[in-house]
């Protein structure tokens, strides 16, 4: 018999006296802790999943906010050559003057509104 086999043969299973009740009590505590940890894990996972789902689908986000970021006339963004730039700027100016005129009328500045419209007509004539 080689030495290592002798060493292994010398290994006898040790018998130790374990306090069974104490062991069971500790084990039950661990089981309870494990159950609680599982519940916490599943609840947290569910919350994270729901949050991600809400973020991805943008549930409850108002649609009108999207409209603010999207121009109704997309050609302004796409067509950027020189021929279109002039037309676009004219349209934008017209819109600006119109809005400003409405604003002035609402606020009660009637003559200022008339002056503004005259100015716009002048600019239009100059450009033509």
């Amino acid at each position: 018999m080689i030495e290592i086999e002798k060493k292994i043969a010398m290994q006898k299973k040790e018998s130790i006296n374990t306090n069974v009740d104490e062991f069971m009590s500790k084990l039950n505590d661990k089981i309870e802790a494990s159950k609680t940890n599982r519940q916490i894990f599943f609840t947290s996972s569910a919350i994270v999943f729901i949050m991600l789902l809400l973020i991805v689908t943008q549930f409850g986000a108002p649609d009108f906010e999207l409209d603010n970021y999207m121009l109704s006339r997309t050609e302004n963004l796409i067509e950027t050559d020189f021929w279109n730039i002039n037309i676009d700027s004219l349209e934008n100016e017209q819109e600006y003057f119109n809005n400003m005129a409405y604003f002035l009328m609402d606020e009660g500045y009637t003559w200022e509104a008339v002056e503004l419209l005259d100015q716009f007509k002048l600019i239009e004539k100059e450009q033509l």
């Binding site: 290592i4 292994i8 299973k13 040790e14 130790i16 069974v20 062991f23």
Partner: protein
Amino acid sequence: MSLTIKDEMKNDHELIKIFQKGDKGAYDRLVRKYLHNTVGFFYTITGDRMVAEDLAQDVFLKLFNNLRNFKFQSAFSTYLYRINLNTANSWFARNKWKNLLHLDQIINQQKKDTSVAKEWLNKELWDAISKLPKKQRSVVVMRVAEELPYKEISIITGMSENTAKVNFHHALQTLKKILNND
């Protein structure tokens, strides 16, 4: 009157069925039945009573979480041995660095002749066993700590009986080399 292995197996399976129906008392009875054997198994490997009890608690916790899925295809003792073996392998893996650095081997050589000799011998042997490849280590652990026959080891580890024998033989050779080098 002593119970036969078949009777034991039947009893265990009945307890598991009761547990699967929701009675935790059946689980407690199973734990009490196999407690000393499991703690003894880990005490043989670790040589530390506290560690052995902690590892046994891990085993029974795993058992509690998985016993509902027990398929009744094998004896409960085989199932428990498998959990013991996996837990022991995990423990060996965790202690790999500690063993590599020899952090807990600062025992003076002179003490070898005193009463610590047996403890030293055990420690030296288990440190060497922990360095074996997983398959060889599994066979050696079951052979040495549980004194199981090759047939049962083959069922637990999922290898053939001959492969288990060959692995044990190779393990002995490797252990011899490791211990001689040390």
